[in-house]
Symmetry: C2
């Protein structure tokens, strides 16, 4: 991909000086329209060889664009905050919201390429990273993002000359670091690995543009014009029509599903419950205090029927935990800030560090439950969510998180009983709303959605646990016990 960027492209100063002022006006106009419409975010990636003008280009963009709507993220060595989470966390955190431009100076491409060049990762690991990147960018595009990827290139000869001349000049000497020279000696390997990576990630929706970095005028004008073209085309494009080829998922003909196999009559007597509660809360508390727990994290997801008993079960867990170590994230309608991001963003932001516990009271599964049933998003969006969610959870588990997902199931009769009780008990009245009654009318649709969810997202590494919830005592102990088992197993794997 680099042949065309080793030809010695240049633009003379006169052309540059004539073309830049109208270009800047047009870019500001486009940026203003973007901010006004706020219908999509713009993600600009800046990568390439050292000394090819990456930094200068970022400065140029900052100079040309309205600083209120552009944010540059220079991604260097990860902070400890970042190191203790999946590698993509830092990028999720920095994603621009709709209407804004995010410039990534150093991006999700940097580590996979550098690791491979330095011989610190295998070809198969690079392949895996490439696949993850393709999934990530595909998801971003599907969520509406405009992704523009620039790679700045210099031929080996030109790079050498440039580094030398920068070094000679006392004013610019500071810009050449040892790392630059180290990278230069790895030039051929770097060229090969990055060419491969660029080609495998140059898709129709997010193609790479390779820019020769030798001449600052050529480089700057090229980036500016491509950016303008991309913004203008996208701003003028009508929104895509939802279009999914395939037929809707269908419920089994005989209406038999996984819930029919649950023994909903299971109960635990008060006395057994009390001693079991003490036992498992104590055990959980001990497990959390195991020094090896600092190497893992726990993410517990609670989903279930309305009035299924999520809150009560969560309180039985947190009673066993140290308040400094856990966070409960109640998930309701997204905030404005969250709505301006891909739907998984609001969950990524709450991923715990190593040693932490996060309990989600409802979760990312809303996408394939309420959003599906209530038609809050088009079919194609929740259909792609199954694999996006599997990807997401895989990243958590790879980063040593224990992901435990509970579905609290109750029967329709039991739900009715609880709804009525809530209406009558003063302090519980706030817990029952018209929404609950409306959802109840869609029982079958929800059940169908839940079964599809279990079928498509119960994985080896993050299986669903169906909890028979008619008896609260039984449910609470099953949950505590499962948590203890899963955490214990994870600790055993740690050295």
């Amino acid at each position: 991909m680099f042949e065309s960027a080793e030809l010695g492209h240049r633009i003379n100063k006169a052309v540059y000086d004539t073309e830049v002022p109208p270009l800047r006006v047009a870019l500001l106009d486009a940026q203003f329209d973007l901010a006004q419409s706020a219908t999509f975010p713009v993600i600009i990636l800046i990568g390439g060889v050292d000394g090819a003008g990456k930094g200068e280009t970022v400065n140029l963009l900052n100079e040309w664009m309205d600083p209120r709507f552009i944010q540059v993220h220079a991604m260097g060595t990860p902070t400890d905050e970042e190191r203790e989470r999946p590698s993509m966390w830092r990028y999720w955190r920095a994603l621009p919201p709709k209407g804004k431009v995010g410039v990534f100076f150093g991006s999700w491409y940097t580590a996979p390429i550098i690791q491979r060049v330095l011989g610190k990762s295998k070809a198969s690991q690079l392949a895996q990273s490439i696949e993850r990147i393709n999934h990530f960018e595909k998801m971003l595009t599907a969520e509406g993002a405009l992704i523009i990827k620039f790679w700045f290139h210099l031929s080996k000869e030109v790079q050498k000359k440039r580094l030398k001349s920068l070094e000679k000049n006392p004013k610019t000497r500071w810009r050449v670091t040892d790392t630059d020279w180290e990278h230069f000696h790895l030039y051929d390997k770097f060229r090969k690995v990055s060419e491969h990576t660029l080609r495998e990630t140059s898709t129709a929706e997010a193609p790479w543009t390779v820019v020769e970095g030798t001449d600052a005028y050529y480089r700057g004008l090229t980036v500016g014009k491509i950016l303008l073209e991309a913004l203008r085309k996208r701003l003028d494009l009508p929104p895509p029509q939802p279009h999914l080829n395939v037929a809707p998922l269908q419920a089994p003909l005989d209406r038999l599903d996984v819930f029919d196999k649950l023994d909903m009559s299971q109960k635990l007597a008060k006395k057994t419950f009390d001693s079991a509660l003490e036992k498992y809360q104590g055990k959980l508390n001990l497990l959390m205090r195991d020094p090896k727990f600092s190497k893992i994290s726990l993410i517990a997801v609670f989903e279930g029927s309305d009035a299924g008993g999520k809150g009560g079960a969560i309180r039985r867990i947190t009673a066993a935990l140290d308040a400094r170590h856990y966070q409960i994230i109640p998930v309701a309608a997204p905030t404005d800030e969250e709505r301006a991001q891909p739907y998984l963003w609001r969950f990524w932001r709450h991923i715990p560090r190593k040693g932490g516990v996060t309990i989600f009271d409802r979760s990312w599964y809303g996408r394939v439950l309420v959003e599906r049933v209530e038609k809050f998003c088009p079919e194609q969006d929740w259909m792609r969510a199954y694999s996006e969610i599997n990807d997401f959870e895989e990243q958590l588990v790879v980063n040593n998180a224990v992901v435990v997902k509970f579905w609290l199931a109750i029967t329709q009769d039991e739900q009715l009983r609880r709804f009525k009780a809530r209406k009558e008990i003063g302090f519980k009245r706030f817990k029952i709303t018209d929404d609950d009654w409306r959802n109840r009318d869609k029982w079958d649709e929800y059940e169908h959605a839940v079964c599809d969810m279990v079928d498509r997202t119960s994985t080896d590494i993050a299986p669903w646990v169906l909890v028979e919830g008619n008896d609260k005592n039984f449910a609470r102990i099953k949950i505590l016990k499962t948590l203890c088992q899963r955490v214990e197993a994870a600790l055993k794997k740690q050295k």
Copy 2:
């Protein structure tokens, strides 16, 4: 993904008998509409555990549907024709054209899953196969295909009972083979590997449906209904609007491109040419007769400007070859049969066996050259072609093909001279058409497309060779020499 298919789903005979007749009528109607409109092909995949009714379901489909428009491909052990080509070749060969239904009984999923279960492949190889499959199905969907994937499942217990009872009955004993029992003993591994594979390949556009295979009525009716839903939804769907987020690829601002670096004045005197021709033709002939050539194949691609000298260069190669070993494929407008298939289909069909040579006089690159410039296909289609083509060539190379791609470049002046000469020389007059003159007017657009092509598809494993073609002698020797070098290098790698 299998929990819901281990519940003992069944339908009673009375329901089945009532529902099947109208279902059959509706299926035939849908199939008729499909054949009439002939706007998309339908690809049905049948996979799953042994004894879960795969074969019976295929028979049922054959019985229910109009045999003129449905074709079943039972993919067993590959033939030697198939073994000597990339593993996907046999599936490409069998793809149904628009308007028809192709049923794959055993598919591109079979070998990757079985190999992994038997421990004959590594996890990373399975991951690679899964990625290839996802690319393949994405391409099929983008080309318009409707893909419906059924996986037939039985719980371990049920499968055991079933195999035993089939064995007991003398009438059905023949249906249980040793392989079936072998597979049964690997049940748990098979379940795990196939669950993983299904989940990773269950996309929004081509999701899997898992069907419990225990009860023939349930199984048959489920498949029939899902098939009908899928056909009806797709037939009633308006065609998708072309929609590509990104701006068109842009030519370099300074108009400098890879062709500017070619020394077009290079020449070879008649005498030097004659001896070089003899030398390299002789060498090529020897290389082809090397016994190790039976382990590789040669695919030479010729693209170039009109009147660039492709035909003459090809004749200088074939003069060195044994007529039994090579095939020349001149690529012009596609036939009706080819138009009813994904655009790569007509090239896949001509992939040589091991030991064979195929010369493409123009090629799959038409997609990103003439089809792009003349707007024969929407932007998003040729934009995705770059990576589809890279995928395709990678499969060829992995299968030991030497892929050599020549671009025959001539200057605009030289082209004019040749056009005029063709008009005047009687036997060459047929070689010049109005099209040639029209294309000449779009010289710049074609050059831009060629540069993008070189940038995006010149890979380590299949690089583009730019040939300075103003002097025919020079060009012909460069081509012959390159072929010799590439084949020689490939032979050296063979043991």
